[in-house]
């Protein structure tokens, strides 16, 4: 924006003199924020450091330097947690602002280092030999605790991924094949987790966490349902298709409730894939029929979105 426009706003007294001065400082770059740049650097630092350490830990196993490194990392991890406990504000049911800009990243670093060290110890000493999967449950428990105690959405999402990986589900764009044998588990888990999340919100605890829960739940649910539909070895895809459409309904409701178009996106894409698969199985169209189907369905969708544009505006 140019200064002239801002002047115009002031002259029409749409903004006060005070506000004009503040905004003028920003537009003329007399005040210049490097908030996002510094946070990106911090985040990259945490990512590179923990990835490097993750590799490092499994090399030169058994040497003295290696043991020292493990001890150092454990100390560092504990140090991070201690720092968070000392510096962090008191627990509250509502949103808590972090005390300083790097607090969140210290917590993230502590959590990721914990995963590395804990995974290594488990690998080396096999102390949970019979209950190998329990490691991800323990990790999830710690992460859930940290997320709620220090109000950290990133750690919460790590906790959720650790929790579902206990059941063998990997939430990642790179690897959707992991749903192949787990569609039923995925469907149940996502519903249960979603219900729990909504229940927690009803209790008034950390309401801003619900979105992250529901985001994961919808993704897992739709991936599981679609995996079920495409898996032709199974007896029938109809139950999965019905489940998918139940999910679509819930997701449209969520989009309305949470004022988020993300859920609408999931619902539309999943519903469309389901419909197209159903037609491919039942209808016996030639190429022209399919082309008309694509034109009419997508064209109809566009028409719907554009004509109800006011409904799809972001509510303030």
């Amino acid at each position: 924006m140019k200064l002239e426009t801002l002047n115009e706003l002031k002259e029409k007294s749409l903004i006060t003199n005070d506000q004009f001065e503040k905004i003028e400082l920003i537009i003329s770059r007399k005040v210049f924020s490097v908030f996002y740049e510094l946070r990106t650097l911090l985040y990259l630092g945490v990512m590179l450091f923990t990835t490097g350490v993750g590799f490092l830990i499994y090399q030169n196993i058994g040497q003295l330097g290696h043991i020292l490194a493990i001890i150092a990392l454990s100390v560092l991890s504990i140090g991070c947690f201690a720092y968070c406990l000392l510096k962090g504000k008191k627990y509250s049911k509502d949103k808590v602002e972090s005390p300083n800009p790097y607090f969140d990243y210290v917590l993230l670093l502590g959590c990721l280092l914990f995963v590395s060290v804990f995974g290594y110890l488990q690998f080396q000493f096999n102390f949970l030999e019979k209950y190998a999967q329990a490691t991800s449950l323990i990790t999830a428990a710690l992460f859930f605790f940290c997320a709620y105690r220090f109000d950290h959405l990133g750690v919460l999402s790590l906790a959720i991924t650790a929790f579902v990986s206990f059941f063998g589900i990997v939430v990642s764009w790179n690897d959707l094949s992991s749903f192949d044998d787990l569609q039923n588990v995925g469907l149940v888990i996502s519903v249960v987790l979603g219900v729990i999340a909504v229940g927690i919100e009803r209790l008034g605890i950390k309401k801003h966490f619900t979105f992250t829960y529901l985001n994961f739940c919808s993704l897992i649910f739709f991936c599981s349902a679609l995996a079920g539909i495409f898996d032709s070895y199974r007896s029938g895809y109809i139950p999965y298709l019905l489940a998918l459409y139940a999910g679509v309904g819930v997701c449209v409701y969520l989009a309305n409730w949470k004022k988020s178009f993300m859920f609408l996106l999931y619902a539309v894409v999943a519903g469309y894939i389901g419909l197209t698969y159903f037609l491919a199985e039942t209808a016996n169209w030639d190429i022209v029929g399919w082309l008309f189907y694509l034109i009419l369905s997508c064209g109809g969708f566009i028409y719907f979105i554009v004509s109800f544009r006011n409904y799809f505006k972001r509510k303030e």
Binding site: T5, L14, I15, Q19, I23, I26, K30, F32, S33, F35, L38, T40, L44, G45, M47, L48, F49, G52, G54, F55, L56, L112, S116, F118, G119, Q122, F123, A132, S136, L153, G154, V155, L158, S165, F166, F167, G168, I169, V170, V171, S172, W173, N174, D175, S177, D181, T212, F261, L264, L265, V268, L291, L294, I295, C298, G299, I302, I305, V306, F312
Partner: protein, 386 residues
């Protein structure tokens, strides 16, 4: 001829967008925002990002299906007529975009407009495949014209980048075909060419008349900076020399003037960062951070000690130390720099960040724990690419 959109509507749209950012950042009150929004009405249809993606994908499917139907009709036509038809088809879709969606329906970057625009560029360009197939220089000129037109008339960012890339290809191709010394001076020509272009765009952006194209000019600046850097980067120059100029390097040999390119690989990012900080130029600062990372990669690629894990750990540590000390140092604003978030970026909301955390850190880490645990965990853990 100016941009295709309704001018007042566009200005008002941007003004209200800015005002909304002020409201979200707590600079003005909600009531003030509402009165600004009612004072500056806009009829333009510019949905939010997710709806845009949905509309883009849906429009692309519709256009693809229409193309399929038309193709079935003209299958028996011979090839030269097909070229003409393709150009006509492209022009018709451009007219649709311009007259129907933009002029009468007031769409502004709605997802549908982008789909139609790229669709028509694609088919106009395809019409010339037969005639220009063996003349890359002319073909890149055609692409340059199409993209430049699109970024001028429709203020499209991807087209801006496309136009500059077509231009860069043209310059490269001409020098490359000339052979001999001309091939050797490609990096120098590129640096001079894109530096002057950079300053041209920068000066252009200060003018009042170019306000509408500001985002395009920012993209153009960034692309120029990247080309300048790439032309001086040791990795790019060396690999392209080997690949395209049949430079045969023996052990212990190096490309001509290697030290110059080593120097530029270090110097250019440092210059970007220095001037970015000095001039408070966010484009320079962001580009410099990206190219610094690529410079580090360049040096590691040729002088690797074979321990990527140590490099990762140490560079992570350096980043952590640097960013934490900068944050501490900026506790009180210095030289006009502040660590506080004065304007909320809408793409940086905390829900999105949480998802990024889980995708970059979580999915690879958590399963790793249990795949090392004993393999009894079914299909889940072991598949990740850690």
């Amino acid at each position: 001829m100016k941009f295709a959109y309704h001018e007042t509507g566009l200005n008002n749209l941007w003004l209200v967008k800015d005002a909304k950012q002020w409201m979200v950042s707590g600079l003005i009150s909600k009531d003030q925002f509402t009165s600004i929004a009612s004072q500056y009405p806009s009829t333009l249809y510019h949905p939010n990002f997710i709806i845009r993606i949905l509309l883009f994908v849906a429009s692309a499917i519709v256009l693809g299906a229409i193309t399929g139907l038309l193709l079935l009709m003209v299958m028996r036509v011979d090839e030269s007529a097909l070229s003409v038809l393709s150009v006509i088809y492209g022009l018709i879709s451009l007219a649709f975009l311009d007259q129907i969606f933009i002029r009468s329906k007031h769409h502004y970057k709605s997802g549908i407009t982008e789909a139609l625009l790229y669709h028509s560029i694609l088919f106009i360009a395809m019409g010339f495949v037969d005639t220009l197939e063996y003349r890359p220089a002319l073909y890149s000129i055609l692409f340059f014209i199409l993209f430049a037109f699109a970024s001028y008339r429709y203020i499209d960012l991807i087209s801006t980048a496309g136009a500059l890339c077509a231009f860069a290809f043209l310059a490269f191709y001409i020098l490359y075909q000339a052979g001999g010394v001309m091939q050797q001076i490609i990096p120098i020509v590129f640096i001079i060419l894109f530096t002057s272009l950079y300053f041209f765009f920068k000066r252009f952006r200060q003018k009042k008349e170019t306000e509408a194209w500001e985002s395009c000019l920012i993209v153009a600046e960034s692309v120029c900076l990247l080309f300048i850097y790439a032309a001086g980067n040791y990795f790019v120059v060396r690999e392209l020399s080997i690949e395209l100029m049949n430079l045969d390097l023996q052990d212990g040999q190096d490309i001509p003037l290697a030290f110059v390119f080593y120097g530029l690989t270090v110097l250019i990012p440092v210059l970007y960062l220095y001037f970015g900080i000095k001039r408070k130029d966010i484009v320079l600062i962001r580009v410099s951070l990206a190219v610094i990372a690529f410079s580090v990669f360049t040096f590691k690629y040729y002088f690797s000690l074979g321990h990527p894990e140590i490099t990762l750990t140490i560079s992570g540590l350096i980043l952590l130390v640097v960013s934490v000390s900068l944050l501490r140092w900026l506790k009180t604003p210095k030289y006009g720099y502040t660590r506080e978030n004065i304007l909320n970026e809408k793409w940086a909301n905390s829900n999105a960040q949480a998802f990024i955390v889980s995708q970059t850190l979580g999915a690879t880490k958590a399963p790793e724990v249990h795949s090392y645990g004993g393999g009894a965990s079914g299909g889940g853990g072991a598949g990740s690419t850690f």
